[in-house]
């Protein structure tokens, strides 16, 4: 995996009693990427992130963040990693400016210019109490606090959960802009897949604690396609005769299939079924996610 990985886990496992929340997760997040860590509610995304930041003890395995051990170097990691979590607790009795001043004391790399510029861009009122801010403004403030010390890695754990569509879009655009400016690595967890698609260039999908997919988004979208086959007389065991079928849609003469690897070999196998028509269609990340998670569930 080498030095280009900012997050590297090997068989990372977390068990709560008899329940396994994260099961032997081996993951690599390349430097400079915007990595979307996707999964359903309870899939193990937040548990993984909490282990990476040593907010939670791991049961087994190893995790390295920015080349440092997540347990031994937890303090150094926290100084170099920005984190925005769902419903992050902020000292709500402070004003925005007070909170910025307070947090500044803990980060040697704090940049007042960045903080001031972001405060302006995100339109945060300096004198307003945190408790008086809307949820969207609080999320923006959390982002500001995470970015003001120029972290090498930004971890966002469901940062837009609970926000309305307009604010979510606003927030994500803010994130995109900042990322484009700085070229940092972003590790982005969400279950709102359609929103992540606009931002991410790498995708990891976790389901019930297991990593079921980890590759660049473009590669994923190039490989996972919908094949639509039209037959006069459809064969009986279609699914078994085509390799890497994730899901089947429709029935009768017109059959849709989502395949995991839309290679020449797969297309050749589809043509061998003698359909009257064969169409290859692109899928959204959400469709791919549903197909992959559905397949994992079947398995």
């Amino acid at each position: 995996m080498g030095t280009t990985a900012v997050i590297e886990t090997t068989k990372l496992t977390k068990r709560f009693g008899r329940q396994t929340a994260v099961d032997a997760l081996t993951l690599m997040v390349p430097r400079g990427s915007v990595f979307a860590f996707l999964g359903r509610n309870g899939a193990g995304k937040t548990t993984t992130i909490r282990m990476l930041l040593h907010l939670l003890d791991k049961t087994a395995g190893t995790a390295r963040v920015l080349g440092m051990d997540s347990v031994r170097d937890a303090l150094a990691i926290k100084r170099r990693v920005g984190f925005v979590g769902d419903g992050q607790v902020l000292y709500d009795w402070m004003s925005v400016d007070e909170l910025l001043w307070f947090c500044k004391g803990f980060y040697p790399g704090w940049d007042d210019a960045v903080a001031g510029e972001m405060k302006g861009k995100l339109e945060l009122p300096g004198r307003a109490k945190v408790r008086g801010l809307s949820r969207g403004e609080q999320a923006k403030l959390a982002l500001l606090l995470a970015m003001a010390y120029r972290p090498e890695l930004l971890i966002l754990d469901e940062p837009t959960a609970g926000l309305d569509v307009v604010v979510r879009r606003d927030f994500l655009e803010g994130v995109i802009e900042l990322i484009q400016e700085e070229g940092r690595t972003v590790f982005f967890s969400s279950h709102l897949v359609h929103e992540v698609e606009r931002v991410a260039d790498w995708v990891g999908i976790i389901d019930r604690g297991r990593l079921i997919c980890c590759r660049p988004l473009e590669e994923l979208k190039a490989r996972v396609k919908r094949l639509t086959l039209t037959f006069d007389d459809p064969p009986a065991d279609l699914r078994a005769r085509l390799p890497a079928v994730l899901a089947m849609e429709g029935g009768g003469r017109r059959v849709g299939m989502i395949v995991n690897d839309c290679s020449e070999a797969t297309l050749a196998a589809a043509r061998a079924l003698h359909p009257t028509a064969l169409a290859v269609g692109d899928l959204s990340l959400e469709d791919i996610f549903v197909a992959l998670v559905g397949r994992a569930e079947e398995a």
Binding site: L55, Q88, Y91, W93, M94, W101, C103, F106
Partner: protein, 416 residues
């Protein structure tokens, strides 16, 4: 990173947040000083200040383990220290205010410094206990045990003079929070909670538990015997003391003859002096009338006879600071805290005529120690009694019941 900057920020946050508690705690405690008309105000002030510390410590500890703190790049040890160290001025200030109120209210004896220290340590113990309980368990048990702790030490007389106990409880609470960390890391939560629970319960209720166990044992009476004073024989063989497991019970014991007798008085009894080997002068306090009655307990005859009553009303019997009885049992010299002023009132009780006379009010003396500890009485054949201390010499004429200060003769001149 500059550690001072981190501590500075944490300190700023602490005092921005707890400033109101600081002010409210002090005000609650000092309420009785501002308006001294009713004794219940003293208790209300103490209760409110203590309750405030209980709730605030619980709230802080809950917030102390929140994600906002753990996300900051602070070492766990720094976080732990911040949880205990930074807010300490708040309970100590509230305690000092409570101590000042107790002292100003004349509710107990003792020097100002001792009273302030006791009350401040009481608040410290309360704070440490509630913080640790919240960390290990949750807010509800912390509030429950904090309230029980408050109830157990609610009386200023109990609070003052229990410094060592409060220090022990504070230490046990801190040890409990340290003990908790390894259990937490290994996820042995049940055994960890059990260990910390036993430690804290032992610290808070250990003494009471031991006494209770002693009281239910068959030979409980004398092992719990607590000698209050020894007198009546040159070898100190005769002693009178409280039976701790029985409120108000006094025990007389002569170790030469192995004679022993226990008598049940009402709560608020104080043995004052012993004469003729088997007669004990006791003082009893009636809360309803706030009067102090003097009685003679004849141990052999097992009778108690009232022999006088102090004309002034007192909130507690602990105002009595010094007593001495004439060997024939006719007169009793008694010193109480002054009703007016900071000194001592001196009384002579004629135990035959049942008359108690204030012979000198508000005797002042300057001493680092409690002045009464240095006092000595000399009963003379010419119906006088002399009271002398480090810087005090008084003579009371028992016929006229008049006291006058006596001056020391000038020091002998020393040749150069």
């Amino acid at each position: 990173m500059d550690g001072r900057r981190v501590w500075g920020r944490l300190l700023w946050k602490e005092f921005r947040e707890s400033g109101v508690v600081l002010a409210a705690g002090g005000l609650c405690a000092l309420l009785p000083v501002i308006y001294r008309a009713h004794a219940w105000l003293l208790y209300t002030g103490i209760a409110l200040a203590s309750l405030l510390i209980t709730l605030w410590a619980t709230y802080r500890a809950q917030r102390g383990s929140d994600r906002s703190r753990t996300l900051l790049p602070i070492a766990p040890a720094t976080g732990w220290l911040a949880l205990y160290l930074l807010p300490l001025p708040v309970p100590l200030f509230a305690g000092a205010c409570v101590g000042a109120a107790i002292y100003a209210f004349d509710a107990t004896q003792g020097a100002l410094g001792a009273v302030l220290t006791s009350a401040a340590l009481f608040m410290l113990a309360l704070f440490a206990l509630c913080t640790t309980l919240t960390l290990v368990y949750s807010a509800i048990p912390a509030i429950m045990l904090g309230t029980l702790f408050l109830y157990a030490h609610f009386d200023p007389l109990i609070m003052v003079g229990a410094e060592r106990r409060f220090l022990w409880i504070s230490g046990a609470a801190l040890a409990g929070s340290l003990l908790w960390a390894p259990f937490l890391r290994r996820r042995r939560l049940v055994s960890g909670r059990l260990a910390v629970g036993v430690l804290l319960l032992g610290a808070v209720f250990g003494q009471a538990l031991v006494e209770h166990l002693r009281s239910i044992s068959p030979d409980a009476q004398l092992p719990t015997y607590h000698p209050y004073f020894c007198s009546g024989s040159s070898d100190g063989a005769v002693s009178v003391g409280f039976v701790r497991s029985r409120g108000g019970a006094l025990a007389y014991r002569d170790i030469r003859t192995k004679f022993q007798r226990v008598h049940d008085f009402a709560d608020g009894v104080l043995p004052l002096a012993l004469f003729r080997e088997t007669r004990v002068v006791v003082a009893e306090h009636e809360p309803a009338t706030r009067r102090i009655t003097l009685s003679i307990w004849d141990v052999r005859a097992a009778t108690v006879r009232e022999v006088g009553r102090l004309p002034a009303a007192y909130a507690t019997i602990n105002v009595i600071e010094y007593a001495s009885v004439r060997p024939d049992g006719r007169y009793l010299l008694l010193s109480t805290r002054a009703k007016v002023g900071r000194g001592h009132d001196l009384w002579i009780a004629d135990l035959e005529r049942r008359a108690v006379t204030l012979v000198m009010p508000n005797i002042r003396s300057v001493s680092l120690d409690h002045p009464c500890t240095t006092w000595q009485t000399g009963w003379t054949d010419d119906e006088r009694v002399r009271l002398s201390g480090v810087e005090l010499m008084l003579a009371v004429d028992l016929r006229t019941m008049r006291a006058r200060r006596e001056t020391l003769p000038p020091p002998p001149e020393v040749m150069p």
